[in-house]
């Protein structure tokens, strides 16, 4: 169990170069892969919370996620075929007319680190494309739409409403600098997150 604690520390401090060896050691010591994965997800939760609280900076969150991704590479062959570990698939994209992807990518990272499979549609995504992506992919449980510009707020609304019209049961989460919780509720989204750290937490909350 000491090894798992070590893995957690390496995720939280973003030691991407060291983590693979330690994850392997944890497996060799008999720790179940699922348990190691859960520990890393918990650590990313801690990282996300620290980021939301302003205790750490963006690069520190980036290297933590990078570190986790490195660790997952070791777990994947051991866990392949086992889909029970996933929380489901999340479709993410920046809405039509908006080319911003830095914030969206951070959110992707945190949602993926929270235990989702992620399909990233990129930027300038037309509303219908979100719906198509839900139908094209397996086990989609969540759609995340991002918009950074005040001028693309209507596109965000259109995206949410198009998704909800076609797939009334689908959970939709929105975010981006000009978005407020009130606006999110007004356009019919199920959830809102003010930053990447809370996006991971909120995403989990919506599908549980």
């Amino acid at each position: 169990m000491l090894k798992i604690q070590e893995v957690k520390t390496l995720v939280e401090t973003g030691k991407a170069k060291k983590i693979q060896a330690i994850v392997q050691e944890a497996l060799d010591a008999g720790c179940p892969a699922q348990e190691i994965l859960n520990a890393m997800i918990d650590s990313m939760g801690v990282v996300g919370d620290k980021f939301s609280a302003g205790e750490i900076f963006v690069p520190e969150m980036l290297i933590a996620a990078k570190s986790m991704a490195k660790g997952v590479e070791i777990l994947k062959p051991v866990m392949s075929g086992d889909t029970s570990s996933s929380l489901g698939t999340c479709i993410i994209g920046t809405v039509a007319g908006d080319l911003h992807d830095i914030g969206k990518n951070l959110v992707s990272m945190m949602i993926e680190s929270a235990g989702f499979d992620l399909v990233d549609l990129g930027v300038d995504v037309p509303a219908q494309r979100f719906v198509d992506a839900v139908n094209e992919n397996k086990n989609v449980v969540l759609v995340a739409c991002s918009g950074l510009l005040t001028t693309t707020m209507p596109a965000l609304k259109e995206a949410v409403q198009t998704i909800k019209a076609a797939l009334p049961e689908m959970k939709v989460i929105v975010g981006g600098a000009p978005v407020t919780p009130d606006y999110a509720a007004e356009i019919g989204a199920d959830g809102y997150a003010p930053d990447a750290g809370s996006a991971g937490v909120k995403a989990k909350e919506l599908v549980n």
């Binding site: 973003g14 900076f57 690069p59 520190e60 980036l62 290297i63």
Partner: protein, 265 residues
């Protein structure tokens, strides 16, 4: 980035007073504070009469070594003082400094050869301080010849391109920049160093000029700095510049230095 902490120098009035009064605690605190601030070497320069220089160096070095594990830069204009002072050091440090004046370099390199000591080398010769970039680079070429002769690796050498005061310079720092760039082009692993605050002698608001110089010199290739590591503005400027030069992935060094209090908001 290599930081050579300059505070233990008898030429600084408060340090000079502490040396004169044998104030051990004062020196000890300077060593500890500079260590905490991230110094890679603690420079020790007695700046006292020749007759007591060596014993003063020994006294200072003993105090510093007792207070910190950071290696020492033995600093004196007298080459024999530097050579003798090496013997007081428990581990390899920095020889500060040699030049091509007289037989200084042979005397020093004989001692440095086959050790892990590093060495600051000034680009002046018997003819004084060369005026043009070309003349300084000629001195540099001679110097590297000596390194080869004594089998001293370029990575052990910190070239001081000779920083003169900005206020009487005819070309700002253009000459120095040219020299630094050429040196780094020829020997990418060599270090280029300098006493940053020399640039701003006789100017008001010296810290501003010092910072501007540090940024530009670093951009040219300077990677070793003789300065006061307790100067947080300067330290922050160096870490920020390093990140902007693409030498600090994810700005982690910058963020860590900030967290460690090396500079503040």
């Amino acid at each position: 980035m290599i930081i050579i902490g300059e505070k233990i120098n008898g030429a600084i009035p408060s340090t000079g007073k502490a040396i004169a009064e044998k104030d051990k605690e004062f020196i000890r605190k300077l060593a500890i504070k500079q260590t905490e601030a991230g110094a890679d070497f603690i420079d020790v320069c007695a700046s006292v009469d020749d007759t007591i220089e060596l014993e003063t160096m020994k006294w200072l070095i003993d105090i510093v070594q007792d207070a910190t594990d950071v290696p020492i830069a033995v600093d004196s204009p007298n080459i024999y003082t530097c050579i003798e002072s090496m013997k007081y050091c428990k581990k390899a440090g920095l020889f500060n400094s040699v030049s091509l004046e007289g037989d200084k370099i042979d005397l020093a390199f004989k001692e440095i050869a086959d050790t892990n000591w590093e060495c600051v080398a000034l680009l002046n010769s018997d003819k004084g301080i060369p005026k043009t970039a070309k003349d300084r680079l000629d001195v540099f070429t001679d110097l590297m010849g000596k390194c080869k002769e004594y089998k001293i690796d370029p990575s052990q050498i910190h070239i001081d391109p000779l920083i003169e005061m900005l206020c009487i310079s005819e070309d700002g720092i253009a000459t120095v920049v040219e020299v630094i760039r050429e040196i780094k082009k020829q020997y990418p692993i060599i270090h280029v160093t300098g006493a940053i605050s020399n640039i701003s002698f006789n100017l008001p608001a010296r810290r501003i000029a010092n910072q501007a110089f540090a940024v530009l010199a670093m951009s040219a290739g300077m990677d070793s700095f003789i300065l006061d590591p307790l100067n947080k503005d300067m330290m922050g400027m160096l870490f920020a510049t390093e990140a902007m030069m693409g030498e600090d992935e994810y700005c982690i060094e910058y963020i860590s230095a900030f967290r460690e209090g090396k500079f503040v908001k």
